[in-house]
Amino acid sequence: MAALLEIWPAVALTLKLASVTTLALLVLSTPLAWWLARSRVRWKEGVAAIVAMPLVLPPTALGFYLLLALGPDGPGGAVAGLWGGRSLAFTFEGLVIGSVIYSLPFVVQPIRNAFQAIDNGMLEAAASLGASPWDAFWSVAVPLARTGFLTGAVLGFAHTIGEFGVILMIGGDLPGETRVASIALYDFVETLQWGKAHLLAGGMVVFAFLVVLTVLLMDKRGRVRQ
């Protein structure tokens, strides 16, 4: 019970971070994935490769570079200055930015694949029925790419929950502000508090399992039978 109380703020923060990040990832990935799937420009595969690059750096190293970028001397500091802040590092917003960058490829790629798989005839049919490209995108492309969106959401969500290196680096383990469950778990493991560690790890896994299962079942129920 005491253990639960102790980890609750971290768990709540994790949920908030994972939800906000997943949402931000979907919002960001959708136009990017669409562009990657449909554009004819030659360099788009270059952009696709760049999106995957944050994956290549170890999280702490990536975190370090992000720390520099978000810090008072980087662009993040400039942005934070707009509302009187000093830097985006060590803030919740900074965590979201870091998590988004780190998980972006897992979300962009499945959505892009799903967009790519859509038969052009579907969009042509929509146009012939008077739907503008924007209208057709929402009424035809997005519903047909449903599975890609759900996969992206699941991977992005799970990855953000487990994410740790980047967050630790740019978040600074501030209780209630940037100390998420994964960091708390790390601390428990580091300090040999096995009981709490197992409890938290088990809780995270069970909770995430339920969320992911729900999403996957949603997909199954609503899946387009072609």
Binding site: F90, D173, E190, L192
Partner: protein
Amino acid sequence: ANADTARIAVASNFTSAAKALADEYAALSGHAITPSYGATGALYLQISQGAPYAAFLAADQARPALLLQDDRAVPGSGFTYAIGELALFSRDAAAALGPDYLKQAPFERIAIADPATAPYGLAAMQTLQSLGLDAVLAPRIVRGKNIGQTFQFIWSGAAEAGFVARSQIADAGAGAHWTVPSSLHEPIAQDAVLLDASSVAARGFLAYLRSPAGRATISRHGYATPE
């Protein structure tokens, strides 16, 4: 005095001691201390990028010195708050640990912390050098990035023995250990600095570390304290 709060950055190896110290200090002064834990290197980087910590309890002397040098810390605030004690540890309670154990080497893997990044790792290497075993044992050494990880290597059974901080053994309980005489390695001094001159709570907390009560708590957690 008005109740004040301060965030302090604490090297992970000092986690449980820091918790106890913060609780004691809060009861004593009414000031709240919220520790954040991390690798000394990472904490240093964060502080140099403006992390909102009022004080820094490092695991070495180098990073506090760097911060002082960069004017990131309050001049003259640095001091050694604890001296780590190195121990050879094995999960096997029956193991007869000591220099002979290292010489006979009845193990496949021995764990140490990374000498490049962790002071305890450096001390462990120095110990092996003093015993003239560094070259012999080199192929059997597995390295953790910090002593937390090193301890887990041993705790999980993946390595049969290894050098850890005595403070960790105090936390863990079971197993056998041998406290390495301080003559075999250079002292593992852990320094603290004040980062925010205006923080009453942090200043007070650093003072508490040097008080007899604070020193008692520190040594209870497996550290020596400076004279």
